[in-house]
Amino acid sequence: MKRTVPLLITGIVGTVLIVSVLIPPAQSLGEDFSLFFDIIAVFAFFLGGGNLFRIHLKKVFHRKEDYGFSIVTLVGFLVTLTIGLFKIGNPEGISGSITAAGSGLQTIFVSIITPLSSTMYALLAFYVASASYRAFRAKNREATILLVSAFVILLGRTPLGMMLTGWIPEQFSIFQIPNLAVWIMNSANLAGQRSILIGVGLGVVAMSLRLILGMDRTYLGSDK
């Protein structure tokens, strides 16, 4: 029963959603099911918050390794929750919008979360540099092609590319580095991306078929 009901729901909902694409009067069914999902998601947020609180409280209580981080998490969680629930600092009071300018929650978001997120994002530049260093070492033929392509694109996106090859006559302009970079991106790269996308499309259909027909039940646990 525990497995039959989810399988039935998956099969029925999956079939209805496919049918709704083909039958115009059933189009709104897809939106209705999305609404059900949103309703479930609201309850799941309580589960998420509860889980976060319980796990970190346990770490602090048992004085586990690095429990100091858990204290920071708990304090941050409770302070934000309290400010958000009671709309502390909200210029329009308890009946005002939770995201009103100058409200406590908005201040936390703008002054703490946004700068911290930006800091993490900024780290990406350094990770890209270190990953590029590894990827562009000409160890074999494929890596060498990758290196040359990357070099052409890097040059093509800077004025240096035009400076180096701007003298090439118009009838051979494809060999100017900026034009070569455009060709690599629009022809070679795009073709590769589309081939992956076609594969993804077929994979999605196959996966959906397995799930709707109940052939792949591994997400429910045992196959038996």
Binding site: S28, D66, Y127, A131, L209
Partner: protein, 403 residues
């Protein structure tokens, strides 16, 4: 004295001439103000392949349209249930546009309700500043729902053909036929990766990505998690699953728990190993990276939907010395995983991974169907190239997908 009189008369004549000339100029500068020319040939038809809550309108531009050098800057679409009105404003479109659908919703209580099977009359008002002109009223026209979207025939045919091929191979697999499945290095490495973690006595980190439970990539990741968790339970090692979404966390907990039960190791299951972190993208990255640095997992799995955080996590994992297996259907993130991870499942391989790990005939049949599907796509592209070369446009039309 005579000279003074002459000059006075001359000045008087000059002044008179100036005044008369000014009067003439004023008379000349009066412009006759007239309204702009209205649009012509306003036509409305039932929007095809819809649920009946829409009418498609088309018209010829006013000769005074701004795009033709005139003064009309916009058109107001007005609708009534009677040719005599009253007309209500339905929409406004910019100059230069010659068609627009009047869409509404099916809910009667909604402000934008659009009744099906009801006669409507339309007119267009051309606006040029404060001046306006109305087109002739068109009607009656009614929105009628269709039972089948004929614009999707090509989709039905393609999915139907693919389904038939897949079902054929499932049948063959069930009848005991030995199907060749091309090996995937990333999948073959799963056992090795779990074994490594066991030998090192360190946990396995499994990241489900930033997708929600309704993303097909996340669902595929659940199926792989189930297989991995079962092996983890059998090898008696541990698995950590930090989650980005609370629903994903709930499903992942259930998946891992059931896998431990299936492996006969329910006692080894720890509910706290599958936990919610945050649904802020970079806060999640910070938490996962911290986990990698502190716990030093021997193996990292990144399977699901990933965005800008993919490289930050994969590079940190690489620096921590973990063996890394990644897979995503996000094309822009695949290169990052290829560079920073030991094995990468590219695109559809993510969906195939569960079937590879399970090796059940039914699932292998779908993989074979997938491979034949790709062969059919390649054949279609080659025929398309030939068709384009000989100018056979009808072939391209076969693949048309309507709205």
């Amino acid at each position: 004295m005579r000279m003074k009189l002459f000059l006075f008369v001359l000045l008087a004549l000059f002044m008179t001439a100036v005044v008369v000339a000014q009067e003439d100029t004023e008379i000349d500068s009066v412009v006759t103000v007239s309204p702009p020319a209205p649009v012509a040939n306003l036509v409305g038809v039932d929007t095809p392949n819809d649920n009946g809550h829409s009418i498609s309108l088309s018209w010829e531009l006013s000769p005074d349209d701004a795009t033709l050098g005139g003064t009309v800057t916009k058109y107001v679409i007005m609708r009534s249930e009677s040719a005599d009105g009253p007309f209500i404003v339905r929409d406004t479109v910019a100059a230069g546009m010659t068609k627009k659908a009047d869409n509404g919703v099916k809910e009667i209580e909604a402000e934008d309700y659009f009744a099906r099977n009801t006669d409507f009359y339309y007119k267009l008002v051309a606006l040029a500043g404060d001046l306006k002109s109305e087109s002739e009223v068109f009607g009656p026209v009614r929105g009628v729902g269709q039972w089948f979207n004929t614009g999707k025939w090509s989709v039905v045919a393609a999915v139907g053909l693919f389904t038939l091929v897949t079902l054929f191979f499932i049948r063959r697999a069930k009848s005991g036929a030995k199907l060749y499945i091309r090996p995937l290095a990333g999948i073959d490495a799963v056992d090795e990766a779990i074994g490594r973690a066991t030998e090192m006595g360190k946990p396995i980190l499994y990241v489900l990505g930033l997708g929600t439970a309704s993303d097909i990539a996340t669902i595929a990741s659940f199926t792989i998690l189930s297989r991995v968790a079962k092996k983890v339970a059998e090898y008696q090692t541990s698995i950590l699953v930090p989650c980005y979404d609370p629903i994903v966390m709930t499903i992942a907990q259930e998946t891992v728990k059931t896998s431990y039960y299936d492996a006969g190791r329910p006692d080894a299951y720890n509910e706290d190993d599958v936990f919610f972190v945050t649904n802020q993208q970079f806060a999640y990255v910070g938490a996962v990276n911290g986990l990698m640095i502190r716990e030093k997992p021997a193996t990292n799995f990144y399977l699901g939907k990933f965005y800008a955080e993919s490289l930050i996590m994969a590079e940190t994992g690489s620096a921590s010395g973990a063996i890394q297996i990644a897979g995503t259907d996000e094309v822009t993130q695949i290169p990052f995983f290829v560079v920073a991870c030991d094995y990468t499942l590219i695109g559809e391989e993510l969906y195939a991974a569960s079937a590879y790990l399970g090796r059940e005939p039914v699932l292998l049949g779908t993989l074979k169907g997938q491979d034949y599907g790709k062969a059919m796509v390649i054949a279609s592209i080659l025929i398309g190239i030939g068709a384009a070369l000989v100018g056979w446009t009808g072939y391209v039309d076969l693949f048309y997908v309507g709205p």
